[in-house]
Symmetry: C3
Subunit: 433 residues, 3 copies
């Protein structure tokens, strides 16, 4: 198997796009398998139908082969699953019946304010069936009788998810999560797993002997993260120092994140400094949450985590419709998200809590890190270096320092590498200083 | 005796208006007795003249029967106590003499910038006598000799106050204080005791088995609260978690409060969230204090208390003059203040520190508290509920949650009742969660 | 010896101006001796060449007798050390050679954006030689050969500094530092030592039995403070509660200071309240640092110190040029800086942590500190007094109180003296209250 990152990310996305994913079922399994082939470190976990996870219960496994509405008079088919898996309400029960358009109408979901797009609708916990079509298509459905057909099944089975823990020198973990429960939509949510696996690849390639441990998990939203936490919350509460839930990370329109409840974790600080200076950065309070940060940051779990997005779920028009496709998600968009996460990993692995080894300023001049001749000027060449040292007290994180010194995170990473090479600082995560 | 709240509050106020109250004396006793008839739980406390209370000493008891200035030539009387008890400087020593207008003038107090109103003047701790009249009346006093007559007495006696402690399941107390030392002025200060007794009535009627304990006290300002604290400060410092001093709570012009010194107590939070969305809300810093919060929040006492007002003392023109009457104070005004305090009591009694019983989000759908079908929309019907749960960590108070979730306190009380009924939360004041 | 303060400060400055100071050498010694004559309490400390101080090493001692450039054809001299000691790059190695203007040019430093002024240039840690002249003079240097002459020496010797610790009743120290390493520039940096010695004089005259201990130190910048800290950092970390580095305190243009890294020390609070209401106050963040606060506030040292300036170094055009002379520095300017520091010392010595001796408000009226007759008015005569008492909890410093009560520091000092005389407060630095 070649490296995951040898292929453009958009190619991975296009390969997986057509699969019908949901909380459970074959499509989700195939999606997990795809990533596991590139990263054999993944471990698959299964939760069988009926298992209690906190206040919830694992639902039946849903599988679907085909579905459509066939107008009996003309033989014309509508809402064909084979054309778009969004045409079926997620978790629809099977049906094979003939009914009048009148009877059928209450089972047809549209998004009237976006009349050309098929909406994404689910009913996981109440057994119904239904179809989703564009409002304009619904208006033109011919009157008369229809063969209503959904060839689905709801049976005892498993909810599945995959995770990997790359152990570093320290037990402290950086955590990445994304979800694999959405059918054919590109940004929400193929982009999350696509980028998460590129991050995993980056850590493996660049930091094979990493300082921190890295945890990656791919799961169905809500019930998946709740299931996962029912097993690992205690471990994670002890070890996770920073976490990112990835969602809608494939477009080029913005960079954004949803703050943790108190907006002051390492994850908040990492994202706010890593995004500094980029175009169109939007920061959302925890009140704007909506993805698995709802579970990871819930009372009693309290992980230090933010949800990272390009354009946040709910904030772009194509969200949760058939228009969320590769006109929204691009290679540039995916790479932009990846570059932010790589920078954050570089920051962690360089020196999380820099601590100057000397009281007072060290003598930079004798190390070639400071000009020897002193004359006033507006532009001090070693100013960033001096500012970083001035805050390197072993308590400020690299992200705090970037903020205090008003520097780009890239600059701080670069300067800290110089200072480490000159043996002027240590990481207080390595040693008490 | 009927319930206090069966009568309009304004009727109580009008019944008590004419009484001449001061720090001590018959008028004050009669006022206390009036409320004690409705609430036999009150206990009367007496501090006899000369008793030391912290840095102070209980003054003599002051009583007054009559007073006037009689122009000898014409027999016309001015500054008649029987027309307004404001005509006499509070705590005036007795006098019965004849003197020229010239001699008399330094004993006559007016409010020159409000020339039609009688000002309210006192001299509790320096024995003088004096009269108060409208500036315009003073200008027209005929020249010549006057019979100057004040039939008052300053004798050994008692300073009296009444308090009640309604014990709840917890020793933690909510504290209400107001004062009964002002003669005939309606807002400052009949409104305070009038509303305080309605709050007492509310707790008795609605929460006969309350969770929290409730302390109510009616006393003369400054020396009264100092006397009270000289006995109860230690108890109160241990038990009072939230207190309100009520002053000027009878007009319809504004809602306001004076913050505690650090502006971060439960009382500050309760008022700021309970007033949210009301018209004309004004928040004053502790530098704007002026009532008994001066004692309750003083260094060494440090109770978590705010002074609650409609329009704050000193901020309305009629303040401390004869114009502070029932053109200022109305039933609507009194009921508006009462409604705020009832809402705060409801909040305390519903769930002060909500704590979700499950890690992760509970499954609201299976309890009918969340829609089963998921489709994007701008208006999520369970959003407030979800937001409240997201902050229900057993450490945020109901008031913190209202602020964090940007919700009206009424909404939070309502939703928490639903969540309690669904057995999804507990109050961490009841149990550690 | 007369008192230091009997002479105008500007006279001291003018007497010292011509001396050629540097990190080491005779000029610096003479400058220290000048102050030691007025203040025999000073102790001279010497660090010999080659001594290790933290990450640094004491350099050779530099002395200079003469220097110039002589145009051989005409005999005209340029860059004459005897006319301005700024003409020689600080720490220049000796040279006695003949060279063409072409060869010479790279050794001539100018400030092209300020073409009429000689710039101040040093090269302490790389042995070079060089001359500094005005850009306009450089342009007019005649072509041809020059006798290049610097009669300097770089030998084993000492770095010297002087310090004094005036012991008060408490070991807690107020710390003042300034530097004596600049040649003929008036604001940066004769003004600092000139004012520091006036502060020392003030403490000796006005507070011969001071409550706090006072430490004063005169040293060469950077290497001097590092040397000093290598001996005293532990003592100072234990005892210094407030420190001021004095730099550029002689002009009349502004009052300013550089905040400590977290901007919340007693020094920050003292300066922000002492400067309140003065004209043209500028506060700089620690990112704008540049003087010995760089060492005193560095990680591992962490003294609670600010650098106090009139116009901050680097913020006035004459800075580090020959134009920094007595057109910049005036008696008024020096006295203005001194008055701020005197006020701060008065605040410390009056009552640093006022604590009211009584729970509740004390009865000010019986002590003549409060009007006995109470009538409403917009201007309460005892308002400041009451506000100060309201925050006198033994934890707020006098500077906190000035800020909380929105009062000038002068007012707070004055009122606290009244309250101390009335035996109403104690300093919790004297006794636990």
């Amino acid at each position: 198997m070649s490296n995951y990152s040898e292929k453009p990310l958009i190619k991975h996305a296009k390969q997986l796009f057509a699969i019908c994913r949901s909380l459970t079922g074959e499509g989700t399994r195939r999606t997990l398998s795809y990533f596991e082939e590139y990263h054999p470190e993944y471990i698959r976990l299964k939760f069988s139908t009926g298992t209690k996870v906190f206040d919830w219960e694992i639902p039946k496994e849903w599988n679907i082969k085909d579905a459509y509405l066939e107008h009996l008079d003309t033989g014309r088919r509508f809402a064909e699953f084979k054309k778009s898996n969004l045409h079926v309400v997620g978790y629809s029960a099977p049906v094979d019946a003939v009914m009048n358009l009148d009877e059928l109408e209450s089972r047809i979901y549209t998004q009237p304010d976006q009349p050309d797009w098929i909406p994404y609708v689910t009913s996981y916990y109440q057994e119904i069936w239904g179809f989703c079509i564009a409002e304009n298509e619904k208006k033109n459905l011919p009157a008369g009788k229809y063969h209503v057909f959904i060839d689905s099944s709801l049976n005892e089975g498993n909810l599945e998810l995959s995770h990997v823990l790359l152990r570093g020198k320290l037990r402290k973990e950086i955590f990445f999560s994304s979800y694999i429960c959405h059918p054919s939509m590109a940004n929400n949510e193929l982009s999350g797993p696509i980028v998460l696996n590129a991050v995993l690849d980056y850590v493996k390639q660049v930091y094979p002997e990493s300082k921190y441990s890295y945890r990656f998990v791919l799961l169905p939203e809500t019930i998946g993260s709740i299931s996962y936490l029912s097993l690992f919350a205690n471990d994670m509460k002890q070890n996770v120092i920073c976490g990112f839930n990835l969602s809608c990370v494939g477009d080029e329109r913005a960079f954004s994140y949803v703050q943790s409840p108190e907006a002051n974790t390492l994850a908040d600080k990492a994202l706010s400094t890593a995004l500094k200076g980029r175009d169109n950065v939007k920061i959302y309070s925890y009140l704007e949450r909506g993805s698995d940060e709802r579970q990871y940051c819930s009372p009693g779990i309290d992980l230090p985590l933010c949800t990272f997005c390009r354009t946040k779920f709910g904030e772009y028009p194509e969200y949760h419709t058939s228009a969320d496709d590769f006109s929204v998600v691009t290679e540039n968009g995916l790479q932009g998200a990846l570059s932010v996460l790589k920078l954050i990993i570089d920051a962690f692995e360089t020196c999380l809590f820099p601590c100057c080894k000397f009281p007072c300023e060290p003598q930079l001049g004798k190390r070639g890190l400071y000009p020897n001749i002193s004359q006033k000027s507006s532009n001090h060449p070693a100013r960033a270096r001096m500012d970083i040292l001035a805050f390197s007290n072993g308590k400020n994180s690299i992200f705090d320092i970037a903020k205090l010194a008003n520097l780009k995170l890239e600059t701080v990473v670069h300067e800290l590498k110089l200072l480490l090479n000159a043996d002027l600082i240590v990481d207080s995560d390595d040693v008490n200083c």
